[in-house]
């Protein structure tokens, strides 16, 4: 086959030129309509009433409280799921044991659960009519319609992100370097800090970036457990919803543009990491089987 081809490489190209132009045009038009317009409309609506209104909307006390709660939530999710990702990847990529593929499926489970159901399960556990509701009420512990519920729901929806990045990466790298370090007399933690962590740092960072974007932006799960108490249990996305439903559009879009900034920073970091990793493994073709 390849012999026949080498005689006519130009033929195919000439024949496909109109196809090529059409497909590129469709691609750009579709992406502009679907992805770029929504970004643009948020920024335009945010600045409609002027920059001062926009800045006021993101610096007034309820907005600042929402920013603080969002940062706290993301911080907890990053720490908890980061540690879990490291532990899970260590256990799964470095050891053989029975039930491993079951464990892998269970780790992915939260991705198959829709946002609203992710919130619902915590209401069934901790809500007033839930399993532990009466006991919690008797001890005056509030989880639902309070910060702990928001943290739990967020940790649930972002659960697999870091583990999913680290497990295949560590499986691919193998354990020779760690074994060498141990043979040469390094302690377990020393091996982890000096050998494992430097090897997986970009994968870890990548997983944390994805985890962070979802944690800061989660809406459905958090909305169900939050109770929407202004200044207390509103994260940034919930604050956007409240403002929008009050017809305070300028403020809603101003706060939304903060979240757009988050999304763009996420995309830039993610793309930069992908390029870095692609260069790092450049000798190997990305396509795999060619």
């Amino acid at each position: 086959m390849s012999i026949a081809v080498s005689h006519h490489p130009g033929l195919a190209r000439a024949r496909f030129r109109p196809v090529r132009a059409t497909l590129i045009a469709v691609t750009l038009a579709f992406l502009a309509l679907l992805l770029v317009l929504p970004l643009a409309v948020v920024l335009v609506e945010a600045l409609r009433m002027g920059l001062a209104t926009c800045l006021h909307a993101i610096t007034e006390p309820a907005a600042l409280a929402a920013i603080r709660l969002t940062l706290l939530t993301a911080g907890v999710a990053l720490l908890a799921n980061g540690l879990f990702g490291l532990a899970a990847a260590w256990a799964i990529a470095r050891f053989e044991f029975r039930g491993k593929s079951l464990l892998l499926s269970l780790i992915d489970l939260p991705f198959a659960v829709s946002p609203v159901i992710s919130g619902l399960v915590f209401i069934l556990l901790f809500g007033l009519h839930g399993w532990l509701g009466q006991w919690l009420a008797a001890h005056e512990i509030r989880i639902i319609f309070a910060v702990p519920g928001i943290l739990l729901a967020t940790v649930f929806v972002t659960f697999p992100f870091v583990a999913r990045e680290l497990i295949p990466l560590m499986q691919e790298q193998g354990s020779e370097q760690e074994q060498a370090a141990l043979v040469l007399g390094a302690g377990p933690w020393q091996t982890f800090w000096r050998v494992t962590l430097p090897n997986i740092k970009w994968g870890l960072l990548y997983g944390l970036i994805l985890c962070n974007a979802r944690a800061m932006g989660e809406f459905g799960a958090v909305s169900v457990v939050s109770g929407h108490i202004r200044g207390r249990t509103n994260t940034l996305p919930l604050h956007v919803e409240v403002l929008y439903n009050e017809y305070n559009f300028a403020a809603a879009f101003s706060v939304a543009s903060l979240l757009i900034l988050l999304a763009l920073v996420t995309l830039v970091l993610k793309t930069a990491l992908e390029w870095k990793v692609a260069r790092g493994i450049a000798p190997r073709p990305r396509g795999g089987h060619s």
Binding site: H8, T27, F30, A80, V116, I117, V155, F192, M216, L267
Partner: protein
């Protein structure tokens, strides 16, 4: 599920393949299982236990009344249409991004993940503003008699936005792996572009395309944030299943919410199993293609 995980631990601990090689097996696996049970398995089992406490009759009443059935129909239809639109345009987008070099290609490639990175509430209010009757796009549709916002069409648009990356990101590596020689051979043997697509490319791409479609569909079934702003939320007309769960919760009808949630969750699990099978099929198929 948590009941099955707990007694596994002691059995697993004894089964390290390389006993003396690396430290930390017990600690890391123990923590993994503990954290998994606490954060994921325990809450999810609460859902199924709650469903178990409903009588069969109560469950039936909560899941097959007309309003709930209307919400299932709407959710499945809009998610299906959106996934189909994404399969078509996602294929074109993925093909162009992999095969052609044009100005803005890298930017476009990076933007594909925007629906993942953008909080769904922001997508929701942005799309609603665009497609409402005074919006940038809606004002052109209204004279044509097309009502986009606050209609099933609006829901489909939101789900198309949400689902795009699933199709494109699933197809890209497969298109990168295609062997150009086969297409060029087909052309040099006289095939036109359509024949080349149908006979040579499509059979190789099909499993990945179907996987991307299924992933987008599954995501669409559960989507909430980007939909509720643009849907209008009229019972029987534009009320998706996720919203109906929230409505039931606000009425303190935990049983009703649980019943709908269990149905949606089982649909989603079934889809995920199907997608896993598809990916195996896809991988086997590609493996054979490479060997041939």
């Amino acid at each position: 599920m948590s009941a099955a995980a707990a007694p596994l631990l002691p059995r697993l601990l004894g089964r390290s393949a390389a006993p003396a090689a690396l430290p930390g097996f017990g600690l890391s696996l123990g923590f993994t299982l503990f954290y998994l049970s606490l954060i994921v398995l325990l809450p999810l089992s609460a859902l199924f236990f709650k469903a178990g406490t409903l009588g069969w009759e109560e469950f039936w009443r909560a899941t097959v009344n007309p309003r709930v059935l209307a919400s299932y129909r709407l959710t499945f239809t809009t998610a299906f249409v959106a996934a189909a639109v994404n399969a078509l345009f996602g294929l074109i987008v993925a093909w162009s991004l992999v095969r052609y070099r044009f100005p803005g290609r890298r930017l476009a490639d990076a933007l594909i993940d925007l629906p993942f990175a953008l909080p769904t509430a922001v997508s929701g209010i942005a799309l609603t503003t665009l497609y409402s009757s005074h919006g940038w796009v809606g004002r052109w549709l209204e004279p044509l008699g097309i009502r986009a916002a606050y209609s099933p069409l609006g829901i489909t648009i939101a789900l198309t936005f949400i689902g795009l990356p699933f199709v494109v990101r699933t197809l890209q590596p497969v298109i990168e792996g295609l062997e150009r020689e086969q297409e060029e051979a087909a052309v040099s043997l006289g095939a036109n572009p359509w024949q080349t697509l149908r006979r040579v490319l499509f059979p190789v791409i099909a499993p990945a395309l179907l996987t991307g479609f299924a992933l987008a569909f599954a995501r669409g079934l559960g989507e909430y944030g980007s939909v509720i702003f643009i849907s209008g939320n009229l019972p029987y007309r534009t009320e998706i299943a996720s919203l109906l769960i929230v409505t039931r919760l606000e009425e303190y009808d935990y049983a009703g919410a649980t019943a709908i949630a269990v149905v949606m969750l089982l649909a989603s699990f079934a889809l995920m199993l199907g997608i896993n099978a598809l990916q195996h099929w896809s991988a086997r198929r590609l493996g054979q293609g490479g060997a041939a």
